[in-house]
């Protein structure tokens, strides 16, 4: 009688051996990482079908003599009216640094001290900013279908700092905010997320230039914040900004220039407990020739690819890209400039800039000073990508002055996404006061068709000559809206046949004011570009 010993040994042993071999032959499972580069988190985005949507508009003032009068712009491209509830939070500036801890002017004797402060770790705990003792004010507005409303926070509260949490009873709505001061007007999307970390690659705190970080805590418990700044001479952790408490449902403003004077300051705001929203208002008073005001929220999540559709250097038009590496590993970064109108047969595209960005530090490329970038006649798009998988944050800074026709300075984070639909809530071409440009970049290898539609006063307006237009593969479309319509209050939706990146520039005509900002993508149809494809 057969014992079956051999069969059993072969089958059972074979199964186990095969399993072990299969496992040994497989690549080790990659570490599970959350895909945090999601629309609405990495950058503001709107969803068509949601129960509610919430926007956080932190930066701004609400006093008669404020440096950045804060206005909220809510655009409703849907065919149903929405109700928006604004919870207006107020706050004050953080106490300036104590004597001896204040700003050190660049080029002064304090340089030596700076070197010593590099990489320092300060463990003292800062006191909380004095609370305003004011309960948040609530303001409800109806946003008609296919229309937009603007709410000046100064009409609701009076406070050194005023921000708003905008809750809307539905999706598809976009919220931007704008600040107006002596340097002109800046416009940017509000944030759709809170975060326990915000990074700002760019910042200037030299004499005459003020960098204000506005920290908004919309939650029912206090938040404790640590701020770290990367400068050209290392990192700094001002004592007053370590353990800084942002009281619940209020805001705290921090003038970074009270702590340091530097041409380039990158800021990293970490929250020990809780989550906050941080906006940056940068004001240039012309002391060094730059005039203007910028408004932007930080990057809550780093990404591997940042795309900037707008780009131009010329006499009077300066442009630089600042790359910040907030991670714990060195980032190998490439900055590629995609110049318009190059003949593939004859023209050689500019060689990408290769950067090695240490952890916690920044690196910048001054495109205006680079000979490989053509100036004057040809615009360009910029793509910043991490080549070794270390996520980064990239910000582009554009400054305009003599002999350019515009005046001002603007900075914006790139877009980590491509999307088929983009909305611009604020703006509107006004032949008398404001020029508006839309810049669409097609990152794909195929031609993309797009439509531009405006809406205002309950009506949609298919802009003439902006329907069914094409963008060549890898190319851009630069649209001056004033050539197609003249309407001061016009929100715009761009819809493309394939994912693109859309940016808007608002330029004051004949005065100071320049604001370039990314559009707000509709979350459905968003794609995350692959950094290795380019």
């Amino acid at each position: 009688m057969r014992s079956g010993r051999l069969a059993a040994l072969i089958v059972l042993g074979g199964l186990l051996a095969a399993g072990l071999l299969v496992e040994a032959g497989e690549d080790p499972a990659p570490p599970v990482e959350l895909d945090r580069v999601v629309p609405g988190v990495a950058m503001p985005a709107t969803r068509a079908e949601t129960l509610t949507s919430t926007w956080f508009c932190a930066g701004g003032t609400a006093t008669p003599d404020g440096i950045a009068d804060h206005v909220i712009v809510i655009a409703n491209p849907t065919d149903q009216a929405r109700e928006a509830t604004l919870t207006v939070l107020t706050g004050r500036m953080a106490a300036p640094p104590a004597a001896g801890e204040g700003a050190d002017d660049e080029g002064q004797a304090a340089e030596g001290d700076q070197a010593e402060q590099t990489e320092e770790t300060t463990t003292t705990t800062a006191a909380a900013a004095p609370p305003t003792n004011e309960a948040p004010a609530t303001h409800v507005v109806e946003v008609p279908a296919l229309d937009r409303v603007e709410v000046a926070l100064a009409d609701i509260v009076e406070a050194p700092l005023a921000g708003a949490v905008v809750e809307i009873d539905g999706g598809g709505v976009a919220v931007e905010h704008q600040v107006t001061g002596d340097g002109g007007r800046a416009t940017a999307p509000c944030s759709t997320t809170t975060s326990d970390r915000w990074v700002f690659p760019w910042g200037v705190t030299t004499r005459g230039n003020r960098e204000l970080l506005v920290l908004m805590n919309p939650f029912p418990d206090d938040a404790t914040v640590d701020a770290t700044f990367a400068t050209d001479q290392g990192t700094r952790e001002p004592a007053r900004l370590q353990g800084l408490v942002v009281p619940r449902r209020s805001m705290v403003g921090v003038f970074v220039d009270e702590d340091m004077r530097r041409e380039q300051v990158s800021a990293l705001i970490d929250v020990r407990g809780g989550r906050i929203v941080v906006d940056r208002i940068q004001v240039f008073d012309g002391t060094d020739g730059r005039e203007g005001i910028t408004l932007a929220h930080g990057a809550p999540v780093p990404a591997e690819v940042w795309t900037f559709p707008t780009g131009e250097t010329a006499d009077g038009l300066e442009e630089q890209v600042v790359v910040l590496n907030p991670s714990d590993e060195v980032a190998e970064v490439e900055v590629e400039v995609l110049v318009d109108g190059l003949d593939p047969e004859e023209d050689i595209p500019p060689e990408p800039f290769s950067l090695t960005v240490p952890q916690g530090r920044y690196s910048l490329v001054n495109l205006h000073a680079e000979e490989r970038i053509p100036t004057g006649t040809k615009g360009h798009a910029i793509v910043v990508r991490s080549l070794n998988g270390v996520p980064i944050a990239a910000e582009r800074v554009n400054a305009a002055g003599e002999p350019a026709t515009n005046r001002g300075i603007t900075a914006t984070l790139g877009s980590p996404f491509e999307a088929t639909r983009w909305i611009f809530a604020a703006g509107g071409p006004d032949a008398a006061a404001r020029d508006q440009l839309l810049v669409l970049q097609n990152p794909s290898a195929d031609t993309v068709t797009y439509d531009v539609t405006g809406f205002s006063g309950g009506q949609t307006i298919a802009l003439q000559n902006l329907q069914g237009r094409e963008i060549a593969p890898g190319g851009r479309a630069v649209i001056r809206l004033g050539d197609h319509i003249d309407r001061e209050r016009l929100s715009v939706v761009v819809e493309a046949s394939a994912p693109i990146v859309a940016e808007r520039g608002l330029y004051a005509i004949g005065g100071r004011g320049m604001a370039i900002s990314m559009g707000i993508p509709f979350a459905d149809g968003v794609v995350v570009p692959d950094p290795l494809e380019g």
Binding site: S3, A8, L16, D196
Partner: protein, 1051 residues
């Protein structure tokens, strides 16, 4: 002599003149066998001149009158309608006989020599004895001694004065005093018999002679044995009562004799000794697998305690006749403990009475003792017990931390019983669904322990380790190899699975570890395959057909007990049987597979039936599969190598982790015949379990499976079975091989076994099996304190492995569950189906996760959720390492909610207070209206957070009362059910389905109101049937154990 008994039929004759003291032979007969005529003829043939014979027919099915008349025409017969027991039947003589000098009380299976009566009477006069006994010899071989009187120790255990089976060479033929004379044939002076009241009628069979003689000693009488009187004894009672029955009666009745015969002082001195002896014997019996014997010891006390009034009466009677002190009686006893001496001689459990042959058993056991296996078993068991105790010492002394599934038993047995009987389940948003059977089981067990739920929890967690070990030890018992049993024990105890399960708080894995060896044993016996079947007359193994249904029932009960905790366990017998069938096919021995599959299928179905009506809640359409398999189906990332080493926790790593596989390999190399077949079956089961666990870990299966630790329990048992066969093969097969590599393999297997034990020994030093030193309860105590005065829900979110509540799947490997008015209670461990309404909790969370709301608290408010707790690890830091279980994305979402207040709690835990929380029972005034649709959005918009709490006075678990104003609406944040009712001043309020899922009651006119849930009487009926089914199953199993089939007795 006068026997004027009515009804007694005696032949008319003239009485001879008295030439000797009258003796009446009292023969108690009950369904006597064919030997009876010989008994009667032997009595009739006595040469004693003044002997009368009285036969008491103790309710024989066939009256013995005719047989008596044929064999002993002069005998009288008195028939009793029922069998009152031997003593009571013999006592009939007191009623029907007068003027006798002696009674010769006889069994119906003796054959006295013709001079026995005369010899006994003469010795009675010569020794002035009250009781005289003969020498008992074997019926068939009169040269073989059975008894020549007996001694007894202070606990009433008999002390044989001769060795049974000893050849009678007249070496014991001297007359001597004894403590007792065996009851087969006893001459008692009639006046003594009358004064001590004859036999104790509280004793039907067994120990009646002990009682009689003890009381005779108390009365000052002398008891001697007269070996010249020789009586053949068939010991037919042994064939008429099963050994377990005899043992049980002996244990009970000996204890009764002790309790009734000692004076107060003697009783105080003796009872503790007897109790301790019984306790030790019971523990020993359990350890060596004689659970019936242990049960008899326990039941003996219970049996006597239930008869305290009767005992008191018996003691009064003994007191009345006392002429000798306890001290005098003790001097007649054998010093020390006869029982302990029996133990040392290896006699316990083999022959419990003289019918089955103490000496015979003793010789066998003595032989085994000499071989060392019994002592080795005790030694190994002592070491295993030591490892368990040392390894669990912190858990035993400080308590088992409430981590993972090991939720604290905070509910009392009554609470659990009410939860079981209630038609309303609080899990999730509540549902009118059947409660898990576990509630009833835990309530019953808690009640048995006097409400000590902490002790119950310890037993049901740490206690499962020895249960599993014992089950593994018993698994290969039919092989007859104690070495195999010990190897199985060691392999199973050395397996890292249970310790890892403890460290990870995996109760289900522990339960399966304890139960799977028993499941395998039952299936193996059901197969009827050698060596697990019943061996027939020609030595072939077969199933024992009349016991198959007992096997199925046993399998069903074991499976049902585990399924109470792990519902998916109902499929486990089938998995085992299928694996065994595959293993059978591999060895070309498919016989028995069908029976195993049949038994497994039937057992699983019956187990599911035992959980009715709960089973219905798990299988109704729409119920997620996770309700049966458990939510914890996410991949833990364990590799196949880790699974093979059972490394699902801290244990099992390193080269020594592989050693657990080594002993099981041996039989694949050297075993033959059925030993090889069973080893292959064990390995097939192990490979199948590993394969399923691996596939589940890799996510290769299109359906959900329980977590790997549950799937690995059969693998552990399969390996142990293979190891057992390895030892048997070592004993049986290896000697048949020439010396070579097989011997070397055997040595390596032994080394592997030794090496596999080392990690367990090392782990035991910690004293807590790597369980966290604390749990989340302290950090969350504020929630419990708040819950004492208010009702609210706690929503638990996170990875299912760290949730202390039964949970439902959310998404991305996350799960959610609830607890009511505090942290997790016992009842919260079972989730069941979500009944459609509970899913609203997940919907709300998903809205937040999708970024569709920043006010999750507002959505959860109408559901009564006041706290959201996200455990990120089993216990707070530093008690548990960060195992990477923090659901960062979920925490980020919750942190982003504007109405959730993140509380300051220890690392490893995230707790959010819902600042928009609404009362569980809210009252809306001013004629408020609640829509009957709208879902969670409609409820959130209703602004319930601003409503006042209603009905604050709790009365029971599902009843609240309080005053309500006119024109109010009462909102109840629970799933809608018609069982809820609100009465206001006796009037039933209109009941609405608020928002399409909750409850609302319209109260036009206020007053004193009571809100309660009315459980359907039908449910009580169904539960009563369920309880009866469990009791019937258990009773049947117990009876089957006590009364094994004739086949098994024969086997």
């Amino acid at each position: 002599m006068d026997i004027p008994t009515p009804g007694a039929e005696a032949p008319e004759q003239a009485a001879p003149p008295p030439v000797a003291p009258p003796v009446v032979a009292v023969v108690v007969a009950h369904d006597p066998g064919p030997w009876f005529e010989e008994t009667m003829e032997a009595l009739a043939a006595q040469d004693y001149p003044n002997l009368s014979i009285l036969v008491i027919d103790a309710g024989s099915a066939e009256p013995v009158k005719a047989r008596v008349a044929a064999a002993a025409p002069d005998a009288f017969v008195r028939r009793l309608d029922e069998n009152p027991g031997f003593g009571a039947a013999a006592n009939e003589v007191l009623e029907v006989v007068e003027n006798a000098s002696f009674y010769l009380v006889c069994h119906d299976d003796i054959a006295p020599a013709p001079d026995v009566v005369r010899t006994l009477v003469e010795e009675a006069y010569r020794s002035n004895a009250g009781i005289v006994g003969p020498k008992l010899v074997d019926w068939h071989d009169p040269r073989t001694l059975l008894q020549v009187g007996e001694g007894a120790d202070q606990a009433g255990y008999p002390v044989p004065l001769v060795e049974r089976g000893e050849l009678d060479q007249q070496q014991h033929d001297a007359v001597r005093d004894v403590f007792t004379v065996p009851g087969a044939c006893t001459l008692v002076r009639a006046d003594l018999y009358s004064s001590i009241g004859g036999f104790d009628e509280g004793i039907d069979y067994h120990a009646d002679d002990l009682s009689l003689c003890w009381r005779a000693h108390v009365a000052g009488a002398r008891i001697v044995v007269a070996p010249d009187a020789r009586v053949r004894h068939l010991e037919a009672l042994g064939a008429r009562r099963r050994v377990d029955d005899r043992r049980r009666l002996q244990t009970r009745h000996r204890l009764r004799v002790v309790l009734s015969s000692y004076g107060p002082g003697g009783l105080v001195r003796t009872i503790p000794k007897v109790a301790v002896l019984h306790l030790i014997e019971a523990v020993y019996s359990v350890l060596v697998g004689r659970r019936g014997q242990a049960a008899d010891l326990v039941s003996a006390w219970w049996w006597n305690l239930r008869r305290i009034p009767d005992l008191r009466e018996a003691r009064r009677h003994v007191k009345a006749l006392r002429h000798s002190s306890d001290r005098d009686v003790r001097e007649l006893m054998t010093p020390g403990s006869a029982r302990f001496r029996q133990f040392l001689r290896g006699q316990i459990g083999v022959g419990e009475d003289r019918f089955t042959g103490l000496a015979r058993g003793g010789r066998g056991m003595a032989g085994r003792l000499r071989s060392g296996t019994a002592r080795a078993a005790l030694t190994v068991w002592a070491l295993v017990a030591l490892v368990f105790v040392v390894g669990s010492r912190h858990l035993l002394t400080r308590g088992v931390p409430a981590v993972g599934d090991l939720v604290a038993f905070t509910s009392s047995p009554m609470d659990l019983f009410r939860s079981w009987t209630s038609g309303w389940r609080s899990a999730g948003l509540g549902s009118a669904s059947p409660a898990p059977t576990a509630f009833g089981i835990l309530a019953a067990l808690g009640g048995l322990l006097g409400g000590s739920m902490g002790l119950l929890r310890t037993i049901l967690t740490v206690g499962l380790l020895p249960v599993g070990a014992l089950a593994a030890y018993r698994l290969p018992a039919p092989t007859g190899s104690r070495l195999a049993q010990l190897a199985t024990l060691l392999v199973y105890v050395a397996n890292p699975l249970p310790y890892n399960a403890l460290s990870q708080g995996r109760w289900g894995a522990l339960a399966l570890y304890a139960a799977v060896p028993t499941m395998i044993a039952v299936l193996a016996r059901a197969s009827g395959l050698d060596p697990f079947g019943v061996v027939d007359a020609v030595g072939r193994s077969r199933p024992g057909s009349d016991r198959l249904w007992h096997r199925i029932l046993g399998l069903a009960v074991v499976t049902a007990l585990v399924a109470a905790l792990v519902p998916g366990a109902v499929a486990l017998p089938l998995l085992i049987a299928v694996a065994f069938a595959l293993g059978s096919a591999l060895t070309f021995r498919t016989a028995g597979s069908g029976r195993m599959l049949l038994a497994a299928l039937a057992g699983g179905l019956l187990a599911a039936a035992l959980h009715l009506p709960w089973t219905l809640d798990l299988v109704v359409p729409g119920t997620p599969l996770s309700a049966i398999t458990g939510v914890d189906t996410v991949q833990h990332g364990s590799s196949l190598a880790e699974l093979l080493r059972f490394q699902i926790g801290p244990m099992g790593a390193g080269p020594l982790g592989w050693a657990i596989l080594v002993p099981g390999v041996l039989p694949l190399l050297i075993a033959r015949e059925e030993r090889l077949a069973w080893a292959v079956r064990g390995w097939t089961l192990a490979v199948a379990s590993w394969g399923l666990a691996w596939a589940a870990e890799r996510g290769d299966l299109p359906f959900a499976l329980p977590s790997p630790d549950l799937l690995l329990a059969p693998a552990a048992a399969g390996l142990a079975l293979a190891a057992a066969m390895g030892v048997v093969a070592f004993q049986v097969d290896l000697p048949g091989y020439r010396f070579g590599w097989r011997q070397l393999a055997s040595a390596l297997a032994a080394l592997g076994l030794a090496a596999s034990v080392i990690p367990v020994l090392g782990e035991s030093i910690q004293g807590d099996w790597s369980m966290p030193g604390g749990d989340h309860r302290r950090a969350l105590r504020f929630i419990d304190e708040e819950g004492r005065s208010e009702d609210f829900r706690v929503l638990w979110l996170g990875q299912p492995a760290v949730l202390p509540v039964g949970s439902w799947p959310l998404a991305d490997g996350l799960a959610y569950g609830t607890s009511e008015s505090g942290t997790a209670h016992t009842e919260d461990l079972w989730a069941g189906s979500d009944d459609g309404v509970t899913r609203l909790l997940a919907d709300a969370v998903e809205l937040a996760r999708n970024g569709e709301t920043a006010r999750l608290g507002q959505l959860l408010a109408p559901m009564g959720v006041r706290y959201i707790v996200v455990p990120a690890r089993l216990a707070p830091a530093p008690f548990a390492p960060d195992a990477g279980q923090t659901p960062e994305e979920l925490v980020a979402v919750l942190e982003s909610q504007l109405d959730l207040d993140s509380l300051d709690v220890p690392a490893g835990l995230h707790v959010y207070r819902n600042t928009a929380a609404a009362p569980m029972r809210a009252v809306l005034g001013d004629g408020a209206e609640i829509p009957t649709s709208g879902g969670i959005v409609g409820a959130a918009e209703a602004g319930l957070a601003a409503a006042d709490p209603a009905l604050p006075e709790r009365d029971g678990r599902r009843t609240w009362s309080g005053a309500l104003p006119d024109g109010s609406v009462v909102y109840l944040a629970s799933g809608h059910s018609d069982g809820w009712s609100l009465s206001v001043d006796g009037e039933t309020a209109e009941h609405l389905k608020a928002f399409g899922w909750a409850n609302a009651f319209v109260v036009p006119e206020g007053g004193q109101a009571t809100l309660r849930y009315e459980t359907s009487p039908l449910r009580y009926l169904v539960l009563a049937l369920q309880a009866l089914a469990w009791l019937a199953a258990l009773r049947t199993l117990l009876r089957a154990r006590v009364n094994p089939s004739a086949e098994e007795v024969q086997a």
